[in-house]
């Protein structure tokens, strides 16, 4: 569904993404993990067509994404980015309606279809009751769900998420990821909590200093050696007794990294 090859991007003489290649197949949930500042958000932004790569190409369903109409791309993919604060306060319903923009004509009023999609999207994320509320009155978890509903209102076939669980309590992290997995949409997600990545992703890419250094199932990627190489911490990886997924426990010796 999504394929990228030879992606490079740098700024100020620093190479932030080096020669990255990846692919996402229909129905998969693919995670992108790595330490802070390794370039994973930058890589994601290249993939969702906000940042033009300096070298390399990205294809969506075989089409070069930079040859696609921006609106056409926005009708097939959606992004849940890290929320930025705004001084303008809209209602949850309005925020979700924004997701209909790529489908709407210039002067057309919101159609019955638009309104139905907005309500369906809010219901799908379990936020139907928040429709009339102002965004500023919502909790972090609620706001994130409303923004996810906006992405769903775009009717995407591929969803990009950039650290969607940031700043959320563990319960909301699990809830949000369970929700995302239950959507039946292809997902590419940047995560920094490895246990969350191990539990919810089909495949992972591990990024380190701008390069993708490992890929495969969570079990294959999340080895103590790879974790030590990327994050500089020691760990044991075993099986979660209930979910059966990889489970990581970290520690650091007194003299590590000194």
């Amino acid at each position: 569904m999504l394929r990228a090859q030879g992606l490079c991007w740098g700024a100020g003489g620093r190479q932030i993404v080096r020669d990255a290649a990846l692919h996402v197949e229909v129905g998969e949930c693919v995670g992108l993990i790595g330490p802070n500042g390794c370039g994973k958000s930058t890589l994601l932004r290249i993939l969702y067509r906000v940042l033009a790569p300096q070298r390399g190409q990205v294809w969506f369903e075989g089409q070069d994404i930079w040859r696609m109409e921006p609106r056409a791309f926005a009708r097939q993919t959606a992004v849940l980015a890290q929320a930025s604060a705004t001084a303008f306060d809209s209602t949850a319903c309005e925020a979700v309606m924004l997701g209909r923009l790529p489908h709407q004509g210039r002067f057309a009023a919101d159609s019955a279809q638009d309104r139905r999609m907005v309500h369906e999207s809010l219901a799908r994320v379990g936020a139907a009751g928040l429709a009339g509320q102002r965004m500023s009155t919502l909790s972090g978890g609620e706001r994130q769900r409303v923004l996810l509903a906006r992405a769903l209102a775009q009717e995407p076939r591929l969803l990009f998420l950039d650290e969607p669980t940031n700043h959320l309590d563990i319960r909301y992290q699990l809830e949000l990821m369970r929700l995302v997995r239950g959507l039946g949409i292809t997902v590419l997600v940047v995560l920094h909590e490895l246990n969350i990545a191990a539990q919810f992703c089909d495949r992972l890419y591990l990024m380190q200093a701008g390069a993708l250094v490992a890929s495969g199932t969570p079990r294959a990627v999340l080895t103590p050696e790879a974790i030590h190489g990327a994050f500089g911490v020691r760990s044991v990886v075993d099986e979660h007794p209930i979910t059966g997924r990889a489970r990581i426990a970290y520690w650091m010796d007194a003299h590590d990294n000194e």
Partner: protein, 345 residues
């Protein structure tokens, strides 16, 4: 209250305010008479014969002197409110205002340059408006570039840049006016820096009316894109809206509206700050509602304020910008306080 209800209510209030404002003044008239004269004139224009039962000097006061001025207040108020709405969306900051960000001052420089050097003076109002447009556009771009810091526009930096550029340009306006050696221009200096609607004539109404209508249509066509802009450039891009291109287009629209409004009325401050803010309190942030409601509210506001400017200190008249400053200044400070309180929490 629904948006259509707001639009109806505000239209009705605007009509009342126009009639009342025409009735106010040294020669006291009553609203019913004003209505009769205006109605009679309009009917006559479309070929209905009306026998006037009012003194001819009342007709002159209403139709020739006061009504064009009140209608101009309406157009300028609506235009400045729209400009405020758009600027605030463009820089994602509810404190933006064409006066405070130096755009109006830029327009003033453009307008008085044309008047002083008479380059295109033969073309009259159109030349002044063209000059004001170029001045406004230059000021907008300059402030925008100065305020940017690594692709972002920090609010404090934006306002400081705007105020600095605005002061500088106001100085330029004064310099041009004083050194031009034209007496009547110097006596009109107050008009260009504070704004005034005095001695408006019917012939001056056409251009601002046309630009206002065209601007409104253009902006309504971009209303959803403006909503996306409020959500941030990144989000806008993921919705298929190219924020930078849209911004450039909006700069032109904003400069055109500001330029024309300043050309006919000078630099009237704070309308673009106060009105959008109140509008959002009434109907929220959705631009398909904010644009028409703020235009009506701005028109209503300036009609009333100009009525006050004309009559409160009669027989002396004060520039309308003095009163908008008295209202807008404290309003701005209150907004700053509320922001500070919110950020502390």
């Amino acid at each position: 209250m629904k948006t259509s209800a707001w639009l109806l209510t505000l239209s009705a209030l605007l009509l009342l305010a126009v009639l009342a404002s025409v009735a106010w003044g040294s020669a006291q008239l009553d609203v019913a008479q004003v209505w009769a004269i205006v109605r009679g004139q309009v009917l006559q224009r479309i070929g209905v014969v009306v026998t006037p039962d009012w003194p001819v000097q009342h007709f002159q006061i209403v139709w020739m002197i006061r009504l064009p001025r009140v209608l101009m207040a309406m157009l300028v108020g609506a235009g400045l409110a729209l400009v405020g709405v758009v600027m605030q969306a463009v820089v994602r900051n509810p404190l933006a205002d064409p006066y405070m960000l130096g755009v109006s001052s830029g327009a003033s420089v453009g307008a008085v340059s044309v008047l002083a050097w008479g380059v295109f003076a033969a073309a009259g109002l159109y030349a002044i408006a063209a000059g004001a447009f170029i001045g406004a556009l230059a000021a907008t771009v300059l402030v925008y570039l100065l305020a940017q810091q690594g692709g972002r526009i920090p609010p404090a930096r934006l306002i400081l840049s705007g105020v600095a550029v605005g002061y500088m340009l106001m100085g330029v306006t004064s310099l041009i006016v004083i050194t031009s050696g034209q007496r009547d221009l110097a006596s009109a200096l107050m008009t260009w820096t504070m704004g005034s609607l005095a001695s408006t004539q019917w012939t001056a109404l056409g251009l601002p009316a046309a630009v206002l209508l065209a601007g409104m249509a253009l902006l309504l066509a971009q209303a959803r894109q403006l909503n996306a802009l409020l959500a941030g450039d990144e989000t806008a891009a993921t919705l298929g809206v190219a924020a930078e291109g849209l911004r450039r287009q909006l700069f032109v629209v904003v400069s055109l509206l500001t330029g024309v409004m300043v050309a006919v009325s000078g630099a009237i401050g704070f309308v673009g700050l106060v009105i959008p803010h109140i509008t959002r309190m009434l109907v929220g942030c959705e631009h398909r509602r904010v644009l028409p409601v703020s235009a009506l509210l701005g028109a209503l506001f300036l009609v009333l304020v100009d009525g006050a400017a004309r009559t409160w200190f009669a027989p002396m008249e004060i520039p309308v910008g003095v009163i908008t400053a008295f209202i807008g200044g404290p309003f701005f400070i209150a907004m700053l306080w509320r922001r500070a309180a919110r950020e502390e929490r």
